[in-house]
């Protein structure tokens, strides 16, 4: 029954990859809900976070946790800078959602090429000992770094949910997501909410990129390649809905891994297996199907 083991193992890998996606998807969906921005530069924020951490860890020899915090902080500052230089002027000119989206694609190119300029195109790794695999019994295993990724993602998700439900500024974020204009006339400080949203978005995106750096090698296009599954997760969960985004990310993560399972016991049938090169295609396919069959997402999203 090696295919049962293979499927379960794919499920485990999928959940940990899904957790990484979830960190990215929460930020993307909050940004869409609160800032009304379909941000294609979001994936490249992941990349920036991962490479900043590399600079601190491999370059400055900081311990990994500190380097990761530094990477997150740096990315948060970057999002605030981008807001001041790009998004705020566009908002004050009342730019259409389409213009904002195109601007975000431009920003994505700038960020990615900035990373290439500084760190080059060759794949890089954090300076870490090989991550040991932890046996879970029944032939299943998970690497320590995936376990860390899962734990950190879980912690971040809990913190974000506490922020949104239990703090006044978090409730204000939900209010702005409901209606920016009503928030303004009610006296909610929309500027402060915007800044906090960028900080959360940047921090989570960086963490996501750093987790990805833990479980794979880093390349300058790592985040850009992830923007499709992240969008898929966001749309699946109902765009604007952070809890939906988490569920969507786990679904996409597991689907990607399970769809490419190919146990040797299939014999000659293995030639019909979906190659792992098509993992990203699975996310894309899910996105297309959801848009066709249930465009509002599986869960309720932001009301327009």
């Amino acid at each position: 029954m090696d295919w049962v083991t293979a499927l379960l193992q794919a499920g485990i890998d999928g959940v940990s990859f899904g957790a990484v996606l979830a960190l990215g998807a929460i930020g993307l969906t909050l940004g869409y809900g609160i800032l009304r921005l379909a941000n294609f530069a979001h994936g490249d924020l992941l990349t920036v976070g991962a490479y900043l951490t590399l600079a601190f860890q491999a370059g400055l020899q900081w311990p990994l946790p500190l380097a990761m915090a530094g990477g997150a902080l740096g990315t948060m500052l970057l999002t605030l800078t981008c807001d001041a230089l790009l998004w705020a002027p566009l908002r004050s000119r009342r730019a259409s959602p389409t213009s904002l989206m195109i601007a975000s694609i431009g920003l994505a190119l700038v960020l990615r090429n900035g990373v290439i300029l500084i760190w080059g195109v060759s794949p890089q790794r954090y300076n870490l000992p090989v991550s040991p695999a932890i046996a879970l019994g029944a032939g299943l295993q998970i690497t320590a770094s995936r376990l860390w990724a899962l734990g950190i993602a879980l912690g971040a998700v809990v913190l974000v949910s506490l922020l949104l439900q239990q703090t006044k500024i978090g409730r204000a974020m939900r209010a702005v997501a409901d209606s920016p204009e009503l928030a303004r006339v009610t006296g909610v400080p929309v500027g402060l909410v915007t800044a906090i949203t960028w900080l959360v978005t940047g921090g989570l995106a960086a963490l996501s990129g750093e987790m990805l750096g833990l479980i794979t090698t880093m390349r300058p296009n790592m985040g850009w390649l992830l923007i499709l599954p992240i969008f898929a997760a966001t749309i699946l969960g109902g765009i604007g809905n952070p809890y939906g985004a988490i569920a969507g990310a786990l679904l996409v993560g597991v689907a990607q891994e399970v769809a490419t399972v190919c146990p040797a016991s299939l014999g000659s049938l293995t030639q019909y297996c979906l190659s792992t090169d098509y993992k990203l295609g699975v996310g894309l396919l899910i996105m297309v199907l959801v848009l066709l069959l249930r465009p509002q997402g599986l869960f309720r999203g932001t009301r327009a």
């Binding site: 997501a177 204009e181 303004r184 009610t186 006296g187």
Partner: protein, 237 residues
């Protein structure tokens, strides 16, 4: 002394198209003033312009003799002006209690005491503080919108068609509540399609047409003005 004064206000959403074309208006402190007029007369635009949401081309708005023309909404909230929009006036995914909290974002000292005041005024809201606003009925939603606007204990409350799309019984309720809020000392600018009812409870009324006030007078005067009756009040009440 007028609490709010609007002087020859010209304003519009897009360049070259003026919706308000020289509106004048004045509200005494403690009064209830009704603004009536046909669809598209510019009533909502007047409320929105006072609240800093529509670009002003000329003219001015004074609150307590202070020029507030074009000031952003957050500034007006701090000065003591609250505004309840005609539609989409609550946060649907927030609970009743959270909506009220947002109303007092700028000053949430005594949040619970302020909320209790609102629940006393609208007992049906008090019974379902944890229910999300999106699940409320039209009447409850309107009450929540007014409650949210009252959280800062404003001196001036601007209401844009609070009775729109409500059943006749609820319309009675809302008008009774508006009178109650007024009796507690809040000055009210009431924009209404329900012209007879609004004029009946107002000290002063303005009839808007084409972005200007065409008639003004006490509520009683307007209710009996032949031209106003013929053109704006119709046959029935």
């Amino acid at each position: 002394m007028a609490l709010l004064r609007v002087e020859s206000l010209v304003a519009g959403y897009v360049p070259g198209v003026d919706i308000l074309r020289g509106t004048n208006m004045s509200l005494e402190s403690g009064s209830l003033v009704a603004v009536i007029g046909a669809n598209g007369a510019g009533k909502s635009t007047l409320a929105r312009t006072i609240f800093g949401l529509v670009p002003v081309r000329s003219g001015a708005v004074f609150f307590q003799e202070q020029n507030i023309t074009g000031q952003p909404p957050e500034h007006l909230v701090r000065l003591g002006v609250s505004y309840v929009p005609q539609t989409a006036n609550v946060f649907p995914s927030l609970t009743i209690a959270e909506n009220l909290e947002m109303g007092a974002f700028r000053d949430s000292r005594n949040l619970d005491r302020r909320r209790r005041r609102i629940y006393d005024l609208f007992p049906s809201l008090g019974k379902r503080q944890r229910q999300s606003a999106g699940t409320l009925s039209g009447g409850e939603r309107q009450m929540l919108a007014m409650g949210k606007a009252l959280m800062m204990e404003p001196q001036l409350l601007i209401l844009d068609e609070p009775s729109a799309a409500l059943s006749p019984i609820l319309v009675q309720d809302i008008f009774r509540l508006i009178q109650q809020i007024h009796a507690q000392g809040t000055t009210i600018l009431l924009v209404e399609q329900n012209a007879r009812k609004a004029l009946a409870i107002a000290q002063k009324g303005y009839v808007m047409d084409g972005g200007q006030e065409h008639f003004s007078g006490t509520g009683i005067e307007l209710l009996h003005h032949p031209e106003v009756v013929a053109l704006y009040l119709g046959k029935k009440g």
